[in-house]
């Protein structure tokens, strides 16, 4: 009897599996051919000296030896890490501040939420254009304000000055994603029961203690998720920098994606560009590992 039922279940199962496969086939095919295969192929190309039009020749770790000595590459990764850490920290930090403020159940909170969604809704290229116009030496709001306030005597060309370009692009980059971090974190905060805070207040906990002992422990997994995702997104930034500076002046804002794009699509060193991509994957994998670990830990704890 028992054997019979498992047998029936088994045949039902395999039939279902076949049906599932038919339904999934187009998607699996598309993803494999146009996404998974290119990714694997891209990783492989990082170990070749491929140039468009030439035959593909495997050259082992030669690209990486070359990268190791390539000071443009090191400079690009240094800027990339600086950009990623600073922008991520500011986005998440300022986003957390905004989320905490909106979570105090102030009046007009939903109205404020609509307003703060707007930068997130702005396409990356347009974000770049907005900030170019803000920083424009003669017509930009930044110079007009600083001149009127007497902080500067003459217009500053923010985006082509070695001194100011990095803080300038960082402000523009942070601007666009604060809302995203705030909205994610606000949703996390809203899962915390109000009773907990009230109990905390009755026990005489101050605002900081409530944050430290009630908010932070509950928010930790959400915070870890948003930090790792934001980190990965920022490390892959391309569009906004392309519009703001194209990597200039003198390569000072040449993030790794811009470096890879130039090597591959401007100069045609496809293999070398893919090698840069592979180095990027290693750094991203560390963050992905961190993200998955936190997620799994969360799930098993529930």
């Amino acid at each position: 009897m028992k054997g019979m039922s498992t047998k029936r279940a088994h045949s039902l199962y395999s039939r279902k599996e076949l049906g599932q496969f038919q339904l999934l086939l187009p998607v699996v095919l598309l993803i494999s051919v146009f996404s998974a295969y290119p990714l694997l192929r891209g990783i492989y190309l990082g170990f070749t000296d491929y140039r468009l039009g030439d035959p593909i020749v495997f050259n082992g770790i030669e690209n990486y030896l070359q990268l190791f000595e390539d000071e443009f590459f090191w400079e690009s990764f240094r800027i990339g890490m600086l950009w990623t850490f600073v922008v991520t920290a500011l986005q998440v930090g300022l986003g957390l501040g905004l989320a905490l403020l909106l979570n105090t159940k102030v009046r007009f909170a939903s109205f404020y939420t609509i307003l703060i969604l707007l930068p997130w809704a702005t396409p990356p290229i347009i974000r770049g254009i907005l900030w170019r116009q803000m920083y424009e030496p003669n017509s930009g709001a930044v110079n007009i304000m600083l001149l009127n306030a007497g902080f500067i005597d003459a217009p500053v060309n923010w985006l082509s000055s070695f001194e100011y370009v990095i803080p300038s692009v960082i402000i523009a980059g942070v601007w666009g994603e604060i809302s995203k971090a705030a909205i994610f974190l606000l949703a996390g905060l809203q899962t915390i029961s109000h009773d907990l805070y009230e109990a905390g207040t009755i026990d005489g906990a101050g605002a900081w203690q409530r944050f430290r002992h009630i908010t932070l422990p509950v928010l930790k997994p959400v915070l870890a998720a948003i930090i790792s995702l934001t980190f990965m997104w920022n490390f892959n930034t391309f569009g906004i920098i392309w519009v703001l500076t194209q990597g200039g002046p003198g390569g000072m804002t040449r993030l790794p994606m811009l470096a890879a794009y130039e090597e591959g699509f401007r100069y045609g060193y496809i293999g070398y560009a893919a090698a840069i991509g592979n180095v990027m994957i290693i750094i991203l994998s560390v963050m992905l590992f961190f993200y998955i670990r936190v997620q799994l830990k969360e799930r098993t704890e529930r």
Binding site: K16, E17, G19, Q20, F21, L23, L24, P26, V27, V28, L30, I31, F34, S35, A36, P38, L39, I43, G46, V106, R107, Y112, T113, L115, I116, L117, L118, P119, A121, T122, P123, I125, I126, L130, W131, R132, Q133, M134, S139, A141, N148, W175, I178, F184, A187, M232, N236, F238, W242, V243, P256, A260, Y261, F265, I270, A274, G277, L284, M287, R299
Partner: protein, 278 residues
Amino acid sequence: MTGRKHISALLIHGAIILYVVFLLFPLLWVVATSFKPTAEIYSGELTILPDDGTLDHYRSVINGQQVLRSMGNSFIVGVVSTVLVILLAVPSAYAMVRYTSVINNAILGWILVSQIFPVILVMIPLYVMLRHMGLTDTLTGLTLVYVVWSLPFVLWMMHGYVKSIPLELEEAAVIDGASRIQVIFQVLMPLLLPAIGASALFSFISAWNEFFFALVLMKSPALATLQVELARYTGMEGQARTGPLAAASVIATIPSVLLFILMRKWFTTGLVSGALKG
């Protein structure tokens, strides 16, 4: 006590308003610029309401044709890729929810990976492949890339929605003799309409806003998408075109802003709970 409460509420509003000013000012500035005559743009005054508002920049964008044409390209690629993504995602999401197998985990894993890997690694071989197929510098090629690009996320959204539909509804249809495809398109599709609407908007906007793939794939100016066209104006010729560029930026942002306002509930709750709880 109430006095203290008022003060803290005031402080909270004050702090939020500081954020709002920082977050809205650049947008306001460009909207203002788009309505200012060129002389006023360079007047060195910090005006948000133009003294002498004009629609000239909007007129020149519309008469200039190139921006309009690129908008047309973005629109076509966005609509076609959206329709394809939805047609692919609904049956697949159904299959993933109703049958459990290893493929599910593989697809869900891929969805996660696809959100973060450096696009340059995919783009290089994809470019070579599409070139062999004669699809670089064609709207067809770009559409194909966008389908594959937004498919994982739409699939994952759809997966969540299909999960919330009770099995009983389908069983009733199956007893009445409906085939699986009929179940999907006649029972499931109508129930999924809100979800399809949301996913379609998402997919359209991600195509509309996308830049990197379009930059690499599209070489002919006549085939440029809106984002590529606008990015081009920030190059050498950027200076003289501040006004029209501001107007074009405003136009280009409207679809995306409408989406966010329409789907605000979804962005502020659905996406997040789904994304973080898996």
